[in-house]
């Protein structure tokens, strides 16, 4: 089966009923998305499909033929972080970091829809995500900073996902 992941077409020899999360981590060695609850209730596995955030742990790859899948690795690299990654680093929004990749993907999807979200909109959008460390205030700040960075960034660095 062919999947479009981070703009490249990948062939996987896995049962089509397999959740995307397992395919990303085990077959494609993309480890940003995390296994948290396996039930779509904690948000750690969140990736972007087309332009919306989805839980990869409850999404079998059979549903994804022809869809564009973006993981955190697809946004930026350590050398060239995307605005959302830069903002999370600058605000030091991670403590243990397990939930953060999912949070960033949800935030990225939010900013695609609403480039200037209010705090209440950010909180509402991030509601499906759990963080046990308690960095929530920093996460909200980081998303505000990312919105600012995206607004002022040169067009070439804005990933069109």
């Amino acid at each position: 089966m062919k999947l479009t992941v981070n703009d490249s077409i990948r062939t996987v020899e896995t049962d089509p009923d397999t959740p995307l999360l397992y395919v990303l981590r085990d077959d494609l060695e993309l480890h940003a998305a995390k296994y948290g609850c396996g039930l779509g209730q904690c948000g750690a596995c969140t990736v972007i499909v087309d332009d919306k955030a989805v839980f990869s742990c409850v999404t079998p790859i059979s549903l994804l033929e022809g869809r564009r899948i973006t993981t955190l690795e697809g946004l930026g690299t350590v050398e060239r972080p995307a605005p959302i990654q830069k903002a999370f680093i600058e605000e030091q929004a991670a403590q243990c970091g397990y939930c953060i990749a999912g949070m960033m993907m949800r935030a990225q999807a939010l900013l695609l829809r609403d480039p200037n979200p209010t705090d209440s909109v950010i909180r509402a959008a991030l509601e499906p995500h759990l963080c046990r460390c308690g960095t929530h205030m920093r996460i909200v700040k980081a998303i505000r900073r990312a919105a600012e960075l995206l607004r002022t960034a040169p067009v070439s660095t804005k990933r069109a996902i």
């Binding site: 089509p16 009923d17 397999t18 959740p19 397992y22 609850c37 396996g38 039930l39 779509g40 209730q41 499909v49 087309d50 919306k52 955030a53 989805v54 839980f55 742990c57 409850v58 999404t59 079998p60 059979s62 549903l63 939010l110 609403d114 979200p117 209440s120 909109v121 909180r123 509402a124 959008a125 509601e127 499906p128």
Partner: protein, 453 residues
């Protein structure tokens, strides 16, 4: 002769006009300075309990807005009506309303200045509320935080924007309260009837409406609310397992029941309010509603479905997902495959609610004649509730294409609902998608009722 006829005609016209004016006209009631009035704490508490059952805060608060400041748009077949500010702000709320003016609004749907109110404010139910309870509700509302917020202008087309015509509507459809209990009836049942028919205004959603927006004489046989079907809550109940007083009480207070499912859509805030209402009152409501559903069954009707095969209790199964798929998905049926690989993770997990999803053969959604509620639930999921233990379901709108959503609907309808295929899946899916796209991002916490105490 001709002169006499003319005289008669003029007299008749004059009389008709006088009668019309007498029927339409309502005097204004003078404003009062409520700040000078003290309210007894026990009375305020009684009003708080009634307002909770009446769900006042849900319609009179906009998403993310201040409690009771109004502004929630209510879409009706006649246009959009915005709820009003019922906080005690003197300029924009009801701060200058006297108790007599408040009682007239509740009983006859008239504002203090004599203007007729739209029955989106369900005074056809509130007319049944007793004088004493109106007094308590008044005390409660007058002691809330005053919020300065102008009400938005309704968007109604002609002739629905002409308020005096509502006098005619009232002549046709407004009975006159207050509620008169049957002295021979069980007092708990009577209390339930009073709450359900009056302040609880359950029929506002659960009773079908006629072309003029009034409830038909088929109480509780199913209506609609905000794009959702409000299921029948009488003998025509669609629930695969019959409701009992006890299951209704648990459902209304907790927002879900393992044999019936979850209060979703516009029923969610109702249950959230009832979770803090007086337990005796919720029991009375359950007793009354259950009595209208016919003989309580023992939970073994409907093909022996009881849901009792599932383990229950906290920790009886691990809470994280184990094997992500259910083996043996039938080949060929796309809906069956998607169900097995996506839905069964929770719905056949063997974990009791709220940690697992409901056994879909118990779900009322799947026996309903329309796919409306199913499509909304499938797309929106069930967001986490604030501070209460309740099932969560991820939203699937982003992941499912229209074809995939329809395939799931067809499969679960026939496999678990055991019913002929829904005829309206495409149109209901479109409606649900459009409404979801139009909905502002807001938090469940934004809809949380403010502390009543």
């Amino acid at each position: 002769m001709t002169k006499h006829k003319l005289m008669a005609f003029v007299t008749l016209c004059g009389a008709l006009t006088a009668v019309t004016i007498a029927l339409v006209y309502e005097p204004s009631i003078d404003p009062v300075d409520v700040s000078a009035v003290g309210f007894d704490a026990a009375l305020v508490q009684k009003g708080a309990d009634l307002a909770t059952i009446g769900d006042c805060i849900t319609c009179h608060t906009s998403p993310g807005g201040k409690s009771f400041a109004g502004g929630l748009p209510l879409k009706t077949p006649f246009g959009t009506i915005y709820s009003t500010n019922i906080s005690p702000d003197p300029e924009t709320g009801i701060g200058h309303w006297s108790e007599a003016a408040f009682r007239r609004a509740m009983r006859r749907g008239v504002a203090p200045d004599g203007k007729h109110l739209y029955p989106a404010f369900p005074y056809d139910h509130f007319t049944l509320v007793s004088d004493d309870d109106d007094k308590a509700l008044y005390a409660y509302l007058m002691t809330r935080q005053p919020i300065h917020a102008l009400s938005r202008t309704n968007e109604l087309s002609f002739p629905f924007n002409v308020r005096f015509l509502l006098a005619g509507w009232k002549m046709l459809f407004l009975g006159s309260g207050p509620f008169k209990p049957d002295p021979a009836a069980d007092p708990i049942w009577s209390r339930g009837a009073y709450l359900v028919l009056g302040i609880g205004h359950c029929g506002a959603c659960h009773t079908p409406r006629n072309i003029l927006g009034a409830e038909k004489a088929q109480p509780f046989s199913g209506g609609e609310a905000e794009g959702w079907q409000a299921f029948p809550i009488n003998s025509a109940s669609l629930s695969p397992v019959p409701w009992t007083e006890e299951s209704l009480k648990v459902y209304l207070r907790r927002g879900w029941h393992e044999l019936h499912g979850v209060a979703a859509g516009p029923m969610a805030p109702v249950a959230e309010n009832l979770s803090v209402a007086s337990e005796d009152d919720v029991r009375a409501i359950a007793v009354y509603v259950a009595s209208g559903m016919g003989r309580p069954f023992d939970g073994i009707e409907s093909g022996g479905r009881t849901g009792a095969t599932r383990p229950s209790g906290n920790g009886s199964k691990p809470q994280s997902g184990g094997s992500q798929t259910v083996p043996g998905a039938p080949d060929g049926d796309i809906g069956a495959r998607i169900y097995a690989s996506t839905c069964a993770t929770c719905h056949e997990s063997g974990r009791a609610m709220p940690y697992g999803g409901i056994d879909l053969s118990l779900s009322t959604l799947l026996s309903a004649p329309s796919s409306r509620n199913f499509m909304r639930l499938l797309l929106d999921g069930l967001p986490a509730t604030d501070g209460r233990k309740a099932p969560i379901m991820p939203e699937f709108s982003a992941i499912l294409t229209d074809e995939q959503a329809i395939a799931i609907a067809s499969y679960v309808r026939s496999h678990f609902g055991n019913k002929p295929p829904w005829q309206d899946v495409s149109v209901r899916l479109r409606e649900a998608r459009d409404d979801q796209a139009a909905a502002p991002l807001s938090s469940a916490a934004d809809h949380r009722p403010a502390a009543n105490k």
